[in-house]
Symmetry: C2
Subunit: 343 residues, 2 copies
DNA sequence: AATAGTATTGCAAATGTTTTCATAAAATGG
DNA sequence: CCATTTTATGAAAACATTTGCAATACTATT
């Protein structure tokens, strides 16, 4: 077994132990076909004996790629990003990359700082969430000629390559669904929109469709809630105490929708009989809850996998132009929405 | 603004532009107090003008720390790890570290491989989840004298530093809670235990306490379900079709417990009136669901923050011996459990 | 004004690899 | 068995930094 005691065997130590030159050891790693099988065996043995581990830092100094991809998320602590991050990183790992992950908590200043830090680490590429980034960040990435990909949103005019869905459309679909069920008294619960283009686009899509059908949403039925079951539940509970309550709620995402359903259950308002609730996202668990949540499905896994494939192409240089991939949405009608019945 | 066109300014380009030597530029970054303020200003200007970004790879070749910490998780795609990962990485980022994150999907072979890869990247330290790791992995980390920390479990005999809770105790507390409410007919739903010491310990703790009180759990009431609402719901639904059903369910974690509650709701079994359900974990949302979930709270944020602080000390060398931190559990009695009523 | 410090800077070596080029050894072909 | 090609290896330069040491310039002290 491995006998090294210092943990600091370098390539020349291995070379010495195998009685060859460092060049040969290096070659045996990077171009094994160029070295004699017998020599390779000797080297392998030496490597094992010394517990040698290659130094990527030294490698990447030679213009070699670092084998890392930076992933910048607002936060991981959301069902939705967790699923995305998981599929994205799984896919990239299978390509031999390692993920350098950082979060910025929806702060675009910090986002700039973390991208800079990723550049110090000489990542081969960077993935960001959404398309809302500071001018400084965009400039930085352009100057450094860094392969970049924006995940989650699709925009035909995006400044960088992107793969994602149309959030505006998601908002529309949710609205169309409620309208199609005969609802006219509709409440809107969305998170704050600063630094969050996803939320903004969804809301605008919803409002656009509603207005087109002549439905206006009174101020009291438009509420702001972060992506948190707890807070959404509180916000919705308050909404339900009004004199006039809507017959349907259109929520910025599934977490908010869940909060609303719990609030309704607690207040004794039957879902969907007296209140329909529709979400956006289709997170893990949305389908299983009682009542199962109607929602606009954004296929996080698909997006993650496609995004990974795309950044790999961008990094390898196989994909010189920026490319924008639109991932289709799907309305999942389930048990939390029903046709509006006059009573 | 930045005018560089190649994106490849190095320290000597900066030196030239500032009319000083490369050494001085380097020093102005690493030991600013040693360089004349006026010179520093010149250098700063040159850095900005050229869009220079330091190369950590080259730095870390000099025995300098890489400024990265490896984080190895089974999967991120779980409420519970998401919360942990978030607090851990936030805390480490505030100390100037960047996280290299990898997942292995509960496969200890892959875990070994990813730890190796992290070593290639010369991480300053590594954090793993739990204490169940292959001998090979432990050996590797010891030989390389890598600062290591195991998160999530506490064990007085742990081979490496750890911060976490006692999962055995968590199982006990959940069992004591049900027993205390008068339940004797108790079902157990836990995930598969291979490569998952958390689950194993919890189950053993639960069984230990039940047996001590003379309660035995028939085979039909012991079910295996992964950490997934969907699957837990299905497993529980099946359990509820038996002739004999338990009056209480003790679940391996909150996700499983949620699945069980949904299954009960669907089957028209009132929770907690006819069936009590207790979970382990206290994930985000558990408190808000209807009925609010009774559970044994494992303080993920606290653990993440403490773990980050500990690995920093380990890396800086301020903490030579291995240290084991026990984070206390707390029973959260909420609405999903109730006293057993004869009927 | 000579001496001793002190502050500031540059030179050169070192870090762990990869790669180009040159060389030696072996294989092939007549 | 010699000439030519192929295969295998090593020497040295290159990569982007940091740092120990030496040199210089300046300041304070007598």
């Amino acid at each position: 077994m491995v006998l090294k005691q210092g943990g600091k065997a370098d390539i020349v130590a291995v070379a010495r132990a195998a009685k060859v030159s460092a060049s040969t050891v290096s070659r045996s790693f990077n171009h094994p076909e160029l070295v004699n099988p017998a020599t390779r065996k000797k080297i392998d043995r030496a490597v094992r004996r010394l517990g040698y581990i290659r130094n990527r830092a030294a490698q990447s100094m030679h213009g070699r790629r670092s084998g890392t991809v930076g992933l910048v998320v607002p936060t991981i602590d959301h069902a939705i990003f967790a699923e995305l991050v998981q599929s994205f990183s799984e896919e990239l790992e299978s390509e031999g990359f390692t993920i350098l992950m950082t979060s910025h908590g929806y702060d675009l200043e910090r986002e700039y700082a973390v991208v800079r830090k990723l550049l110090e680490h000489r990542v081969d590429g960077v993935a960001l969430i959404g398309l809302d980034h500071s001018e400084e960040t965009y400039l930085l990435m352009e100057q450094q000629e860094l392969p970049v990909i924006a995940i989650w949103n699709y925009d035909a005019d995006a400044r960088v390559s992107c793969v994602g869905a149309q959030n505006f459309r998601a908002g529309q679909m949710a609205a169309e669904h409620l309208l199609g069920l005969g609802h006219r008294k509709i409440g809107l619960i969305f998170p704050d929109m600063v630094g969050n283009d996803r939320s903004r686009d969804r809301m605008e899509g919803a409002k656009f469709t509603l207005q087109n059908e002549g439905v206006t949403v009174p101020q009291e039925w438009q509420r702001v809630s972060p992506y948190s079951v707890a807070q959404a539940k509180a916000v919705c509970a308050d909404l339900l105490t009004q004199d006039q309550v809507p017959t349907a709620l259109l929520c910025g995402n599934d977490v908010i929708a869940q909060g609303c359903i719990f609030a309704a259950q607690k207040a004794g308002v039957a879902v969907p009989d007296r209140l329909s609730v529709v979400g956006i996202g289709d997170f893990k668990g949305s389908k299983e809850m009682e009542p199962a949540l109607s929602t606009v499905r954004i296929p996080a896994r698909t997006i993650g996998v496609q995004a990974a494939a795309l950044i790999v192409r961008l990094i390898s240089g196989d994909q010189p132009e920026t490319i924008r991939q639109d991932v289709p949405l799907q309305l999942m009608q389930r048990a939390s929405t029903a046709r509006f019945m006059k009573r």
